[in-house]
Symmetry: C2
DNA sequence: GCGTTGGCTTGATCCAGATCATGGCCGGAT
DNA sequence: ATCCGGCCATGATCTGGATCAAGCCAACGC
């Protein structure tokens, strides 16, 4: 692994808070999750010390992956699920005409690979969009542990169930404005849930990826972002975004975020 | 429950195979799943007899529901998941403008309610489209049982994971023809997996529901079905469909069904 | 230096499918 | 019988966003 120059955010003042140092010690087996920065999110709850110790034996810290590296590829046999510790992961399928289909983006604290349990093979590619560090969980081992620790089983059920809902969100038929607003608000909420800024963050994915994910043309994404900026809703500079009027954006997106 | 006149299919010769009689005895606790017609599908695997007995204590047969009856409503507290024994269930959300959004249709042998685990409340309505019989599983009890029986835990993980993939399918951006073809082929495959005819079946949902689910206008659904019929791909009569050229339909849909 | 390449923006045009309007059919209520 | 409402089909028109085309800019290799 050696000495890795972690240049997570280079110059501009983004919302990234504590300069996460993945090379720091993982802590002892009783509280590694607290140094893992997102441990209490990906496997929360008041686990007692033996439970944490069991988890610690199970998890494997992997990375760094560089932008463009693949974490797993479609049709590889399913073995592990991953939690993002740092960076952003894109999951996507490629149909036989070579057209890419972006399934989603995974931020720090979120899981990747849950959709592979059923087919027992990864149904999609997982690609690092920037410098990515992961926690890797052998799924068979995790499932075995879950039979002993109901809290972990419960958390796995919750994570899986939540992903069903997430996947359904984007399935509906809404306007380009509504979809873009919902995308920005969802990102903001997810960053906020992880302790990052909810108003300033970096779009680690290319415009084309956003477009693909929202089922729009890249040109439309450009135009909608510009429109939002002209209306004073956001400020865009390269890939850095600042939400200037989140309430208004949320209002535009409320039909998608239902509730 | 009394003597219920089960008129599952009234006159026309659909693909429905064995006239399922939900009033028949549920069998003893050692093999109730074999009389439940779909038991080996919703909870398959070679469970030993004690496992089956445990399951039997857990499951509750409910129904009949009539067309339009709700099985659960959005925001009701989550308590149970359901397996469809007979009939078709539609799940849908309604946004605050009153616009309906059809999430999916659930055929015999399929589960309903898995997306409610995470929010701990049902995130959608579940509506019977015709005469519906269900198996009801208390989820807390099922989860508890799953800690003792790894096979059941495994199956729950698989079901949840499969639903993520299913939800992602319709999320992509394809033409009306492709979406309609995929819809028909998926229905055929799902019926086939349950032992029904893969070429003749009944669309228990209204055209408007299909349209909504596929993010099309009802008029477009009409036109596409007519076009398919004119091309000799299918034969439509009211809500009964016969697939005349499944390979061609599958070819049209292959980009959605990826693989 | 210069050309190249990839990501992004902007304008002009086009089209699949939405929307609007109409009418037919069927089944249940009066 | 008659009415009414839900469902479905079909033709005419409209439009949001895709597509095509052109150009900008920064990073990179030679």
């Amino acid at each position: 692994m050696g000495n890795v120059p972690v240049t997570m955010s280079s110059t501009r003042p983004t919302g990234r808070l504590p300069a996460f140092d993945p090379e720091a010690g993982d802590g002892d087996e009783l509280n590694f999750c607290s140094t893992c920065a997102f441990g209490e999110v990906c496997l929360p709850g008041g686990f007692d010390k033996p439970a944490l110790k069991d988890l610690h034996c199970l998890v494997e810290h992997v990375g760094p992956y560089r932008a463009g590296d693949s974490i797993f590829r479609v049709s590889e046999p399913f073995e592990s699920i991953f939690a993002v510790r740092a960076g952003t992961v894109k999951t996507c399928t490629v149909d036989e005409e070579g057209r890419e289909q972006v399934l989603g983006f995974h931020l720090p604290g979120e899981m990747v690979g849950l959709n592979a349990i059923h087919p027992a093979r990864y149904p999609c590619d997982a690609i690092a969009l920037d410098t990515v560090y992961l926690c890797r969980f052998s799924f068979p081992a995790l499932a075995m542990l879950a039979t002993r620790l109901p809290g972990i089983q419960q958390q796995l059920f919750r994570l899986l169930s939540a992903d069903i809902g997430k996947a359904a969100l984007l399935a509906s038929d809404y306007s380009a404005n509504e979809r873009m607003a919902a995308f920005l608000i969802l990102l903001a909420d997810r960053y906020a849930a992880r302790g990052f800024s909810a108003t300033r963050f970096r779009l680690s994915m290319a415009r084309g990826d956003i477009a693909n994910h929202l089922r729009l043309a890249a040109e439309t994404v450009s135009r909608v972002l510009r429109r939002f900026q002209d209306q004073g809703l956001i400020k865009v500079e390269e890939r850095d975004v600042e939400l200037l009027d989140s309430p208004q954006l949320r209002k535009m997106a409320r039909c998608i975020l239902h509730g």
